[in-house]
Amino acid sequence: MSKATSIWEKLGFRKASGVSEAGWGQTLFAGIISLIYFLPVLLIIITSFKLQTEALSIPPKFMPTNLFGLIPDAYVFSPTLENYTSVFSRAMTSGGVAENTGFDRYFFNSIMIASVSVLLALVIGTLAAFGFSRYPLKGNDTYLFVILTTRMLPAIVVIIPIILMFRVTGLSGSYLGIIMLYTAFNLPFTIWMMKSFFDELSLDVEDAARLDGSSGLKVFFKICLPQVLAGLAATFVFGLILTWNEFLFALLLTGIDTRTVPVAMSQAVAGGGIGVLWGLLAAIETLFLIPVFFVTFFLQDHLLRGVTFGTVKR
């Protein structure tokens, strides 16, 4: 047997070491539940290849092929890439010339704004978390609590003061503004997550490093940080997903140039007269899914270790 990790093993088809594997019944049960969870995503992906008429047909056409006549034609649609091309360029009026929809820009905005703000929050939050964990202030827990209160209200409640702040400072519609806002909103979560990871580390290891001649900064970068990589990955992915899908602040605080995909999507699919353009919507959503899907997929080993923090000690 080869030792290399196959794609199947990466997807989770592997034997967990040290525990007996679940039986077929349990596996099947888990499979059905997973399918129910995954069904909306699956339907979106399928719909993105359908024309508007097929997207709305009843009974639903869910197969892209009749499998050599096995599936009745009523359930079969003819797959098309038209939705995907019209994400980026299409005629805005009936019979008009195809023009750029600006979605390349919006995708760039989403990727840039989300990654910059999540990374920024990760840097600031990790430093803050280390401080809270190792050099507690008087009333440390109160500070941590106050930090968390900023996330206790729904966004819609705090949006008005924030809009006013943005107006006054002129940050409305700028990259800087939305990045700062997302960074601030990711910070509480990042600080709490990272603090719990730092709390789990053995202090002896840091003492040892100090005796071996490392100063405070070196201890942090060379000893502590490598031990919380899994935590960093987990925090990054969770923050990224939250920020990537954020709609309300983006709707109200970004301008035409700085618009993110969720906002642009909501505006693009209103088909004017003919109802929601489901095929187009599905295509945008599918494209929108890809970046986060891949980031999560490649970090999943870290994620699993990250969210089971503290289980292996010494």
């Binding site: 040892a208 005796l211 071996d212 490392s214 100063s215």
Partner: protein
């Protein structure tokens, strides 16, 4: 001149005093064990030397330099931690090399020094593994290797063997002792295991409640315990400590009332000058000779429980006065439960402690 010197070193956490007025000096090439029950302040004392705890008052002097305000990284002290404290993200080799990064030496020299200590501690085959992938005994040796790879002012060991199984502990004890002998540095070892202290130390400092009770060679602390605590803490089976009353002292012989039974024990002159007749008699279980007849120089007792220990037999006996005492007799001495014993204590091994718990000696 001493390499490590603690002068009246005290550590307080709020109102709690973890270590009080600790005076300790360790010479170059000397191994001193801090021995005591858990929570007695021995690890705190070690961490005060290392600089991991700031002392509240007193002085820490290492290699002739006052270290009170120096952070640990500036003290040039190597320490082995109880839980090894290996860097989990670095390989065994990198772990050992870590302290060398702060000495300005070439990569080749670094490698040769790592290889050298790896050879001494038989770690050559695991240098490329991560700490999580090696055995408990190997982890322990990595921790030692990381300490001895450089040339520090002194070595500190915090319960170095406590996590190893008995067999491994035995062999590591020997190995560490040998390594330390070759290095000839001032070394402080913290342990709660008296066997470890007795075998490894040149001198032992016995601590209780943050105070050093006695410092002496393994022989001294065993043969001449300074007080009741040291007497009871050192030696297995435990020393018999019986409260008694001094009734008379004549010509070097003390008449002692042992809960009703009077016995005469030859002892030193200072016992006669005690102010209070209330004393505690300490006799080690191996310091008795069983005699055939009762006399006023032996203790009458009845065997209650017999525990064979292989070469010897441990007998739990009850004296006439109702005190429980432990006696170790040779295996050939087939003592039976209920048998009357006439136990003559060896005067040279009979310790008299005054009312304040301190040993009364010349």
């Amino acid at each position: 001149m001493s390499t490590i010197e603690l002068k009246q070193a005290t550590k307080k956490y709020g109102d709690f005093v973890a270590a009080r007025d600790v005076d300790l000096s360790v010479k170059k090439g000397e191994v001193v064990c801090l021995l005591g029950p858990s929570g007695c302040g021995k690890t705190t004392t070690l961490r005060m030397i290392a600089g991991l705890e700031r002392i509240t008052s007193g002085e820490v002097i290492v290699a002739g330099q006052r270290m009170n305000d120096l952070p640990p990284e500036k003290r040039d002290i190597a320490m082995v931690f109880q839980f090894y404290a290996l860097y989990p993200a670095l390989t065994v080799g990198e772990n050992i090399a870590m302290p060398l990064h702060h000495e300005k030496i070439s990569a080749t020299e670094m490698k040769s020094r790592v290889d050298k200590v790896a050879e001494i501690l038989h770690l050559g085959s695991v240098l490329n593994r991560l700490p999580g992938q090696v055995s408990e005994g190997e982890k322990q040796r990595v921790a030692v290797a990381r300490a001895i790879v450089r040339d520090p002012n002194c070595f500190l060991f915090d319960e170095p063997l406590s996590r190893l199984d008995v067999e491994l502990r035995h062999s590591m004890r020997g190995q560490i002792k040998q390594v330390l002998a070759n290095l000839s540095k001032a070394t402080v070892i913290v342990t709660h295991d008296q066997l470890e202290a007795l075998t490894m130390a040149d001198r032992i400092a016995i601590m209780k409640d943050g105070i050093i009770e006695q410092v002496g060679t393994p022989h001294e602390v065993f043969a001449k315990p300074a007080n009741v605590f040291v007497g009871s803490f050192i030696g297995t089976p435990q020393m018999n400590l019986v409260e008694a009353k001094l009734s008379k002292f004549e010509k070097g012989k003390a008449s002692i009332n042992f809960n009703g039974q009077d016995i005469e024990i030859t002892t030193n002159e200072r016992v006669g000058k005690l102010n209070s007749p209330k004393i505690t008699i300490g006799i080690r279980p191996r310091a008795f000779t069983a005699e055939s007849k009762a006399s006023n120089e032996n203790i009458q007792a009845v065997a209650e429980l017999i525990e064979p220990m292989g070469a010897e037999t441990l007998v739990h006996a009850r004296t006439k006065g109702g005190n429980d005492i432990r006696v170790v007799v040779p295996r050939e001495n087939r003592v039976k439960v209920g048998e009357a014993l006439h136990l003559r204590p060896d005067p040279a091994q009979t310790h008299v402690f005054g009312e304040n718990g301190k040993a009364v000696r010349l």
